[in-house]
């Protein structure tokens, strides 16, 4: 149990069970692991019946920031070994816990309270037509007050505290959702003067943001004039989780060229690390920026531009 064994221990075991001399067993094992290693390097995969599968998995090159200095470093692409044990072996290893099964937890055991806040936050969503965070929080406070009276009468204070906490979080969450959702749709849709007029009556901070949004909309139109229809390779709608680097890899065959997609859509994307979802971005044709994934010069140029963009952000 829990012993650390070495090759010599294994040799002894094998010699005993297979009825061969220790010398033979040692030679066999040495050859076995040597062969596995050699073939793993050449074939990238070695399957052994009764033991499992060894595989070499390619790791793409990626950039990391040094935690202490904040410098960007590049990790070259390399292979890592993976080992997946045979099902029979995996089951044998897991024998002590084999009787345990995945349990479905009852809602009663944990979730009595979350049901209430969900209903309330849904009602809130219906009430809220305006996508402004400030008014949201105010209305949240009002409803908190009304709940306050009824709950304190019942002397169920702990329930009340819990609900208040949930209300605040759900309130801000919905507010943010509304705000960003509208922000994204405003950017993609044509300018609507009615919306802007409404915003003037709102507090200053909000109208400032909306002004910048309208500015962004104007520059979008300018940008689309600059890029002719002939220069556009494709149009992509940003989905949640979509990354410029991925799109670049798909269309140009190299991650580094995301900078050109950013350049072409600069007016839509303020921060390339946080691209708003729902907007439609334009993929420029390769010729415009001399994009060539097989040409190392082109890649270095893109990487130089990348460091420039990222340093401008800071």
């Amino acid at each position: 149990m829990n012993n650390k064994l070495s090759l010599s221990d294994l040799t002894d075991h094998l010699a005993k069970t297979a009825n061969i001399s220790k010398k033979d067993a040692a030679i066999f094992l040495k050859n076995l692991f040597e062969t596995i290693e050699e073939n793993l390097s050449t074939d990238k995969i070695v399957k052994i019946k009764g033991l499992g599968t060894f595989k070499l998995v390619k790791v793409e090159s990626r950039r990391i920031a040094n935690v202490n200095t904040g410098e960007l470093q590049e990790i070259a692409s390399h292979y890592k070994t993976s080992f997946i044990p045979d099902e029979a072996l995996a089951n044998a290893v897991n024998e002590p816990f084999a009787h345990l099964e995945t349990m479905i937890l009852d809602e009663e055991t944990i979730a009595d309270q979350p049901i209430v806040p969900i209903e309330q936050s849904e009602n809130r969503a219906k009430q809220e037509e305006h996508p402004i965070i400030n008014s949201d929080i105010e209305s949240a406070k009002e409803s908190e007050d009304s709940i306050d009276h009824t709950k304190s009468q019942r002397r169920l204070r702990w329930v009340y505290y819990f609900i208040v906490l949930l209300l605040i979080t759900s309130g801000t969450y919905f507010g943010c959702n509304f705000y960003y959702g509208n922000y994204a749709t405003k950017q993609s849709s044509a300018p609507q003067p009615v919306v802007v007029k409404d915003s003037i009556t709102q507090p200053k901070s909000d109208s400032l943001i909306i002004k910048s949004v309208t500015k962004a909309m104007e520059s979008v139109d300018n940008n689309q004039i600059e890029l002719n229809a002939d220069d556009i390779l494709a149009k992509v709608t940003m989905e949640p989780g979509a990354r410029l680097t991925r799109i670049s890899l798909k269309y140009y065959g190299e991650k580094a060229f995301w900078v050109y997609i950013y350049e072409a859509n600069k007016s839509l994307i303020r921060n390339p690390n946080r691209v708003p979802t729902g907007i439609e971005i334009v993929i420029p044709k390769k010729e415009i920026y001399q994009i060539d994934s097989n040409n190392p010069e082109s890649v270095t140029k893109a990487k130089a531009l990348e460091t420039k963009i990222l340093s401008n952000l800071e």
């Binding site: 149990m1 094998l14 076995l32």
Partner: protein, 95 residues
């Protein structure tokens, strides 16, 4: 590379017949299995380490049905390549 190719190559290297190598390989795997079933770890110099590790129990939520599930703890066998093996792989990539 599959089991057949491995036995063929091994028998060639050691000068044994293929059936002989096959039984020997089978016994080896059985011995290894017995070793790991006892939760022992095995280190082979220049190749790597086999180790039995415990995965803690955890809570998950089923993405489509939204049910909360408690996944039981599990023992599983892991293989960690040795440093020299990793270096070798690295060296090959540069060529």
């Amino acid at each position: 590379m599959n089991n057949k190719e491995l036995t063929a190559q091994l028998s060639k290297k050691m000068g044994h017949s293929i059936p002989e190598t096959q039984t020997l390989l089978k016994t080896t795997c059985e011995v290894l299995g017995a070793t790991f079933a006892e939760m022992n770890s095995l280190t082979i110099q220049g190749f790597g380490t086999f180790e039995v590790k415990k995965k803690q129990e955890r809570l998950t939520i089923h993405p489509s049905s939204g049910k909360r599930l408690l996944i039981p703890p599990k023992l599983h066998l892991v293989f960690l390549a040795s440093k020299s093996f990793k270096e070798k792989l690295k060296g090959e990539n540069h060529e």
